[in-house]
């Protein structure tokens, strides 16, 4: 039997420790003297690939924006390699970590500046469509919830071994939508924690 330490909520007051610089200057959660350990801008000088911005609103069961959530993302580089010894990443972009953290602001909005990930291997060697693993923490969440973000302009989505496990009528909740004419290219990805059109979350 397992003896892991149970999860507890991140609570409403994490900002001065985990996201001390806030998402922007008018953030209701303030800006604090403590050091930012993890940034919402993942772009490093050495990174290659297409620059993108991912932005969205986190909404509760009443459709009310959650203004005290923390979103973390984990992604591969443009060549489909994770910054992890097990993935044997080679040069050139060794600085690109692929990990980011953003608080939500007063409107429940989070944002990341990053690059579009490449395709990574999936079960039985089948390639996975480009995607980002998303993890949500918040007051009122006793444990984190995981989801995945896929890109609306990817033909590979149709054959993705995970996305195709999701019932067709709910797959749309995992798709980030390309916003035409934005630079860098903006993808919108709202997260509905509960209710109609609830985002698909994974028990992993």
């Amino acid at each position: 039997m397992s003896e892991i330490t149970p999860s507890q909520t991140v609570g409403p007051f994490f900002a001065y420790g985990l996201t001390p610089k806030g998402r922007c200057e008018w953030d209701p959660n303030g800006s604090y003297s403590w050091k930012n350990t993890v940034e919402s801008n993942l772009v490093t000088p050495d990174v290659t690939g297409s620059r993108i911005r991912v932005e969205g609103t986190v909404l509760d069961g009443d459709g009310v924006p959650i203004n005290d959530a923390m979103i973390e993302i984990w992604q591969a580089d443009a060549q489909g390699r994770y910054s992890d010894p097990r993935n044997g990443r080679a040069l050139p972009n060794t600085q690109f970590k692929g990990f980011g953290r953003s608080a939500t602001d007063k409107n429940g909005v989070y944002a990341f500046d990053t690059i579009k990930p490449g395709s990574v291997p999936g079960p039985k060697g089948k390639p996975q469509a480009p995607h980002i693993v998303v993890c949500i923490f918040s007051r009122g969440m006793l444990r984190q919830i995981y989801t995945r973000l896929y890109f609306s302009d990817e033909a590979a989505n149709a054959a993705d071994p995970i996305l195709t496990l999701v019932p067709e009528d709910r797959r749309g909740t995992l798709i980030a939508h390309k916003q035409a004419g934005t630079e860098p290219l903006l993808y919108r990805f709202d997260i509905r924690v509960q209710g109609d059109n609830e985002t698909v979350f994974f028990e992993i």
């Binding site: 994490f14 001065y16 604090y32 069961g61 984990w74 923490f137 992993i204």
Partner: protein, 235 residues
């Protein structure tokens, strides 16, 4: 090292919906979570080293010009995987209220004083033996709006990274024998007393520094264990 992450271990966690803690009612998924195979995307995770932090980041009593008020304490322990092997180079972040039970956070309106010498945030990285150590002051209890006369037991928030993104843990460390335990819906959202006990630090006389600080030990066990032959059929 290749670890597996059985979802059965998650039974120790609170349920997403735990109505005694009112904020969970509108912030918990209402549809069943989907079980999917663990791919490279789940089995990898961010790695931090000692270059991610600066010396002294683990001492919350030395961040300002003077020392904070309150009982000075040492909080230390090991970060372990499910096989109880140490997790080295694990980033551990911590935040807490001051000795009066007041957070620096601007939304906290509890009418208890702020301490100009205390922010309440710290971070460290575990050593080769998975060991971490913080020096801080004991946080106070504070009221909250969940129900009439609701008070949180003394606690310190922890954020920990392990071998993969699945090992990621945010939790709270409590202090032994707290009289507020029976009344706290967050603590009791973990329903099995044996599981709850793993969120409670132990008083550590041996590592208490005479004439200086009390010590509390808090070991943190993250998801992830070696596969056994029995697991071979598991996906």
């Amino acid at each position: 090292m290749s670890l597996i992450y059985p979802t059965k271990s998650l039974e120790a966690y609170p349920k997403h919906l735990s109505p005694g803690y009112k904020s969970t009612v509108k912030r918990s998924p209402s549809k069943p979570l989907m079980i999917i195979p663990h791919t490279l995307s789940e089995l990898t995770g961010p790695v931090y080293g000692h270059d991610a932090i600066q010396e002294g980041d683990n001492d919350l009593t030395k961040q300002k010009s003077g020392e904070p008020l309150g009982e000075r304490i040492i909080v230390h322990g090991h970060v372990l995987d499910e096989d109880k092997r140490p997790v080295p180079n694990a980033l551990v972040e911590l935040w807490q209220a001051n000795a009066c039970g007041r957070y620096v956070h601007i939304v906290d309106q509890h009418p208890a004083p702020l301490d100009p010498n205390f922010t309440g945030a710290g971070r460290t990285v575990t050593d080769a033996k998975g060991y971490y150590k913080f020096i801080t002051v004991k946080p106070g209890a504070y009221p909250w709006g969940n129900h009439h006369n609701a008070w949180r037991p003394n606690h310190i928030h922890f954020s920990v990274f392990g071998h993969s993104f699945l090992s990621r843990l945010v939790t709270q460390m409590y202090f032994p024998g707290d009289y507020l335990f029976p009344y706290d819906p967050i603590f009791n959202s973990v329903t099995d007393p044996k599981d709850r006990a793993r969120m409670v630090s132990t008083f550590d006389l041996e590592n208490t520094v005479p004439d200086w600080a009390l010590a509390f030990r808090f070991d943190i066990v993250l998801r992830g264990r070696e596969a056994t032959p029995l697991d071979n059929d598991e996906h």
